[in-house]
C-alpha cells in the first residue's frame, strides 16, 4: 500500500509509524525498541482502529463495551491517526487517539466544549504540532497539502475584510498557482464552477460580510472544492444556522460524498450527528467511542463524555438526551 507521505514537519514520528504500517524491511534495531515501548499496548500489525488508546481511560470496569463499535476493516482509509497526543502549555488537550477514516465517509465529532474537537481538526490540518503520534493521509494527489481543506469556525474569520466571494474561493488556488503567478481565465472559470456547485454564483461579487451564515459556510465549501480537497475539515459549520441553511449544507455534503470527498465535522448537535453522518466520534480529551450512532450514543458513554453537562434518560429502548444550558448558550452566542 503506497501511503503518500504526510507532508508534515514532524518527520521523525512519521518515520516510525511509516515503518509500522507498511510492513517493509525492518527499521533500525533501536527504532524497533522505541516502537516497542511506544506501542506497548498494541499488538503489532493489527488494525489500529482496534487497540486504540482506551487503556488511558479510567472508566468503571463494569462497563462492558467494545473498544470501538464494530468497524469493518477499512479497505481504503484516507486518514490514519495513531497514538496522537496534543499538549498545550496548560495541559493535555488530546490524549492517545487512534482511529482510521474510510474514504468518502462523513464523520461527526461530538463532545463538550473544551473536549478537543477543534484541536483534533487543527492537528489533522497540520496547523498544530502533535506532541506525539502520527497522522497519515492517503491522498490521490502527490502534493498532500492541497488535499486538506479546513473551514474555520465562523467566529475565527474577519468578515469585514475587503474581499468578495470569488476572492475567497480563488484563495483556494494560491498553493497550486505558486509564487509570482497570477490567476488566468481558466482559474476564474474554475472558481465560477465551484460557486455554482454550492449555489452561490449570484453572490460572486458580494463582500463576504454581506452574506448570511449559511452562505458564508457555502463560500468556504466552494473554496475547498477549488482546492480539490479530498478531506474536508469543518469546525462547527452548522452552529447558529437555521434549518433551511443546514439542509442546504447537507445537500452539498451529499454531493461531495458522491465524489468521494471525506468530511469531518465537529458539532454540538447530537441528534444531527446521529441522523446525518456515517459515524460519530465521541471525544472528551480522549476517544470515548467511534462508530455508528446507535452503539456510541449510549447512556454510559455520553455520561462519560459530558458528565454533568448532559442528562441522559433511558426509557425502554430509546435514549433521551437533554443538553443543559452549557452548550446551548454557546451556540446562541455565535449566531
Amino acid at each position: 500500500m503506497d501511503y503518500a507521505k504526510y507532508v508534515s514537519p514532524f518527520s521523525s514520528i512519521q518515520w516510525y509509524t511509516k515503518s509500522l504500517w507498511t510492513s517493509q524491511p525492518e527499521p533500525a534495531p533501536y527504532l524497533t525498541k522505541v516502537l516497542a515501548q511506544r506501542y506497548a499496548n498494541y499488538s503489532f500489525g493489527c488494525s489500529f482502529t482496534k487497540g486504540n488508546g482506551m487503556g488511558a481511560l479510567d472508566l468503571q470496569d463494569d462497563m462492558d463495551w467494545p473498544m470501538i463499535a464494530s468497524v469493518p476493516t477499512t479497505l481504503d482509509p484516507i486518514l490514519r491517526v495513531a497514538d496522537l497526543q496534543v499538549r498545550y502549555h496548560n495541559g493535555v488537550a488530546l490524549g492517545s487517539l487512534a482511529f482510521e477514516i474510510e474514504r468518502g465517509e462523513r464523520i461527526a465529532i461530538v463532545g463538550p466544549n473544551g473536549a478537543g474537537k477543534s484541536t483534533l481538526l487543527k492537528s489533522i490540518a497540520g496547523l498544530l504540532k502533535p506532541t506525539t503520534g502520527s497522522i497519515q493521509l492517503n491522498c490521490k494527489q502527490d502534493d498532500t497539502r492541497l488535499s486538506i481543506a479546513y473551514v474555520p469556525q465562523r467566529s475565527d474569520v474577519d468578515w469585514s475584510f475587503p474581499v468578495n466571494v470569488s476572492d475567497v474561493v480563488m484563495m483556494g488556488l494560491t498553493g497550486r498557482l505558486g509564487l509570482l503567478r497570477w490567476p488566468r481565465a481558466s482559474h476564474r472559470a474554475l472558481v465560477a464552477r465551484c460557486l455554482e456547485r454550492v449555489g452561490m454564483q449570484d453572490f460572486a461579487k458580494r463582500q463576504i460580510g454581506e452574506l448570511s451564515g449559511g452562505q458564508q459556510q457555502r463560500v468556504f465549501i466552494a473554496r475547498a472544492l477549488a482546492q480539490e480537497a479530498e478531506l474536508l475539515l469543518m469546525d462547527e459549520p452548522l452552529t447558529g444556522l437555521d434549518i433551511r441553511s443546514q439542509e442546504t449544507i447537507f445537500k452539498i455534503l451529499d454531493d461531495l460524498k458522491e465524489q468521494g470527498v471525506t468530511v469531518l465535522v465537529s458539532t454540538h448537535d447530537l441528534n444531527q450527528a446521529a441522523e446525518r453522518f456515517d459515524r460519530v466520534m465521541l471525544l472528551n480529551k480522549t476517544l470515548l467511542g467511534f462508530g455508528d450512532a446507535d452503539s456510541i450514543f449510549t447512556p454510559q458513554r455520553l455520561a462519560a463524555a459530558y458528565g454533568g453537562h448532559l442528562r441522559v434518560i433511558q426509557t425502554g429502548d430509546s435514549v433521551v438526551m437533554l443538553e443543559d444550558g452549557y452548550c446551548g448558550a454557546r451556540e446562541s452566542e455565535t449566531v
Binding site: 497540520g126 483556494g172 490567476p183 463582500q207
Partner: protein, 286 residues
C-alpha cells in the same frame, strides 16, 4: 480667477515647493498602500512604535554625519529593519503581553534617540525636524532615494499580492497550503520599516502613523475589495500630501501637521458620508 491661479501656481515658483510636493506624493502613496495591510491586520500600534524606535539610529547618524539627509536615511533604514524584526519576534513569544512589550521597547528607544540628539548643543531645531518632518528641506537626492525605495515596497506588495492577502485574511488557509507564513510576516514588517524611512523626512516620527493608517482607514470605508482599497488609499494619501502642502504654504502652518489634518478631514468625511458604511447613510436607511 487670478486668485485661484495664484493659489495653485504661486507656490510652484519655488523649487523647494516642487520638490516638497513630489516628496509628499511619494510618501502619501507608499504609506497608504503599506498602511492598508496595517489597518486590516490591526498593526497600527506596531507601526507607531516602529517609527519611534528609529530615533536612536537616526541620532547616531546625526552625531556622525551631521544634518546630511543621505547618511541619516541609511542609518534610519538599518535601525528600522532591525527594530521591526526584533519587535516582530518579541511579540511572537513574549511572556508579557504584546502591546506592553512593544510599548517598553519603543519608549525606551525613543528616549535613547532624544538623549543622543540632545548631546549636540543646538539640537532643538533638528529634533523638531525629526519629530515633525521638514518637507520643504527635501533635496533631489532625497527624492531619488525615497522614490526608489517606495517603488521597491509597492513592487513587492504587488508581486506577492495573493500571498499577502491569504496570510492576512486567513493564516489558517495559508498554513494548510504550506505557505511560509512567517516569511511573509517578516517581509511585511520590513516593508513597514522601509515605508517609515520613506516618510520620515516629510512627516516626521510623531505624525508618521497618520500617513499610514488614516488614508487606509478612509479607503476601507469606501471600498469592498483590497486592490481598490489600496488604490483609493494611495489617491487619498497623495491628495492629502498635495493639499496639505498648499494649506501649509498659504496658511503658514507646519507642513507635516497640515498634511495629516487634510488626511484626517478625508477620514471624517468618509466616516460620515460613506455609502452604506457612513453614519449619515445608516441613519437615512433606518
Amino acid at each position: 480667477m487670478t486668485s485661484l491661479t495664484d493659489f495653485i501656481f504661486g507656490p510652484l515658483a519655488y523649487p523647494f515647493m516642487i520638490r516638497g510636493l513630489i516628496a509628499a506624493v511619494i510618501v502619501g502613496v507608499v504609506c497608504a498602500v503599506v498602511g492598508s495591510y496595517m489597518v486590516l491586520r490591526g498593526m497600527a500600534f506596531f507601526g507607531d512604535a516602529l517609527a519611534h524606535t528609529v530615533m536612536p539610529g537616526v541620532a547616531v547618524g546625526y552625531l556622525i554625519h551631521g544634518r546630511a539627509s543621505g547618511p541619516l536615511f541609511w542609518w534610519g533604514l538599518a535601525t528600522a529593519v532591525l527594530a521591526s524584526v526584533t519587535i516582530g519576534s518579541l511579540s511572537k513569544r513574549a511572556r508579557i503581553k504584546e502591546d506592553t512589550a512593544i510599548g517598553i521597547v519603543f519608549a525606551g528607544m525613543f528616549a535613547l534617540g532624544i538623549a543622543l540628539i540632545s548631546t549636540v548643543q543646538s539640537y532643538t531645531v533638528d529634533l523638531t525636524h525629526f519629530l515633525f518632518g521638514d518637507v520643504l528641506g527635501v533635496a533631489w537626492s532625497d527624492i531619488w532615494l525615497t522614490g526608489g525605495f517606495g517603488m521597491l515596497v509597492i513592487a513587492t506588495i504587488v508581486l506577492f499580492y495573493k500571498e499577502f492577502l491569504i496570510v492576512s485574511f486567513d493564516p489558517t488557509l495559508a498554513a494548510t497550503q504550506r505557505l511560509p507564513v512567517n516569511v511573509f510576516y517578516y517581509l511585511m514588517l520590513v516593508l513597514i520599516a522601509i515605508a517609515i524611512m520613506v516618510a520620515l523626512q516629510t512627516v516626521g516620527v510623531a505624525l508618521m502613523l497618520a500617513m499610514m493608517v488614516t488614508p487606509a482607514a478612509t479607503a476601507y470605508l469606501l471600498t469592498s475589495r483590497l486592490p481598490s482599497m489600496m488604490l483609493v488609499a494611495a489617491l487619498i494619501g497623495a491628495a492629502s500630501g498635495v493639499l496639505g502642502l498648499y494649506l501649509s504654504y498659504h496658511a503658514e502652518m507646519a507642513s507635516g501637521a497640515a498634511i495629516v489634518l487634510v488626511a484626517t478631514l478625508f477620514f471624517v468625511l468618509a466616516f460620515l458620508f460613506a455609502p452604506r458604511r457612513g453614519i449619515v447613510w445608516r441613519h437615512s436607511e433606518d
